[in-house]
Symmetry: C2
Subunit: 217 residues, 2 copies
DNA sequence: GTTAGCATGTAAGGAGTTACATGATTTT
DNA sequence: AAAATCATGTAACTCCTTACATGCTAAC
């Protein structure tokens, strides 16, 4: 019963799968990957790397191997990590899983970020799971909102409305993605070569002209 | 240097300010209030109540005072809490503050939930602070996205695009609210009696017919 | 009368942050 | 040579969750 925050671990495995990296850089990529904010601290990252190295998922290759731009002799700083065979194995096994924890808030983003390396069936199962999860929430919130509506002031009401709208939007986003995946799958089953690369693209109903206001910075 | 999660404390103060309550009910209201998910556990709530009672912000009035529906004699369960004078004082002082922590993610929602009891100037300052905060994020993410765009696969790109869009939407929501507050303030300054109650309403550009798709469950 | 839900609490532990301590490299 | 930024790490502490332990009340 592995605790439910192998999230960080999975993210690290995934990034190191693309290319070896040292902690500092890893952190920046990590912060970008997940919606992008909530800067992960070194106090989290380094201990995690250490533990993963001990478990044999990654190894710290001394910087002597790959001399960085401005000649950095094999002194001692810059621990460049890379995946071991075990690490690769663990990564792909995790990517193949699609249990209920997969579509929880924190997990979902990371799993989605590695969809390009996830097989189509798993992708679909995760998207559908997430969609169901959000729809449940929506229903729950709607009902309790209906029960308490008249007792609330306008600001609280507006907050609730806005929260609801955000989740609704999220559900529609998932709907678009699911449609795309289904389309790609049907095309593949029919042997349509052109659909080999799923192209998540923009889900239906999301106009690219959307940031007209925001682009005026 | 009060730790930055008086969030829970503030929320409790606010709810008890409306009406005395026991922990179990408090928890339900609490979970509704903030976007509505991430159920707060008893393991958090009860110790917090205890600590607040010790600090003299709230008192546990024995259930004997308000006998619930089906006659629950003053046995021992149902600790109904209410604010003390100190608690009320602390609450209104906190509501009057508008420091930088105010517009951080977790704080903001709670502060907004109590806007009806916050004076107009503070409301505006918090909204503007939050807006600036989000705009900074947006800028930061946009730039690092632009730097890494070509190296990313389509799913990661879509995730980034979606994240960006969400924040943009949030900014527009705030813009609407700020406009409303400014309008209400100008009206009040001119002595316009009709604008006494700010009516946050729906910010411009947010159609109520929005959940047409979602209501088909 | 037994199951389900209301109600309160505690102990252990997970996950992450802040603050500190250190040193190398690059820029000014 | 000073300042900024890259880079790594540790220790203490915070906040919260899970799991446990307990007992009352309502419904079937």
């Amino acid at each position: 019963m592995r605790s439910r925050s192998d999230v960080l671990e999975l993210a690290i495995l995934g990034l190191l799968h693309e290319a070896p990296m040292h902690g500092y850089e890893l952190r920046k990529r990590l912060n970008l990957m997940l919606g992008s904010f909530r800067a992960l601290s070194y106090g989290s990252l380094y201990p995690c790397l250490k533990a993963m190295a001990q478990r044999g998922l990654i190894v710290a290759a001394d910087a002597s191997q790959t001399p960085p731009p401005h000649a950095l002799a094999g002194k001692r700083s810059r621990n460049v990590y890379e995946l071991t065979a075990d690490g690769k194995e663990h990564f792909s096994q995790t990517l193949a899983s699609s249990g209920p924890t997969t579509w929880e808030d924190e997990h979902f983003d990371v799993r989605f970020a590695f969809f390009a390396q996830t097989d189509a069936e798993t992708r679909l199962r995760i998207l559908e799971g997430r969609r169901t999860r959000l729809a449940e929430r929506l229903e729950h919130v709607r009902q309790s909102a209906a029960r308490t509506r008249d007792r609330l002031d306008e600001y609280t009401l507006e907050l609730q409305r806005h929260g609801l709208e955000q989740v609704e939007r999220e559900v529609r986003w998932l709907d678009g993605l699911i449609d795309n995946e289904r389309g790609a799958r049907r095309a593949t089953e029919r042997g349509d070569r052109r659909a080999q690369n799923p192209e998540p693209g923009r889900p239906a109903g999301t106009e690219p002209a959307d940031d007209a206001d925001a682009s005026q910075h």
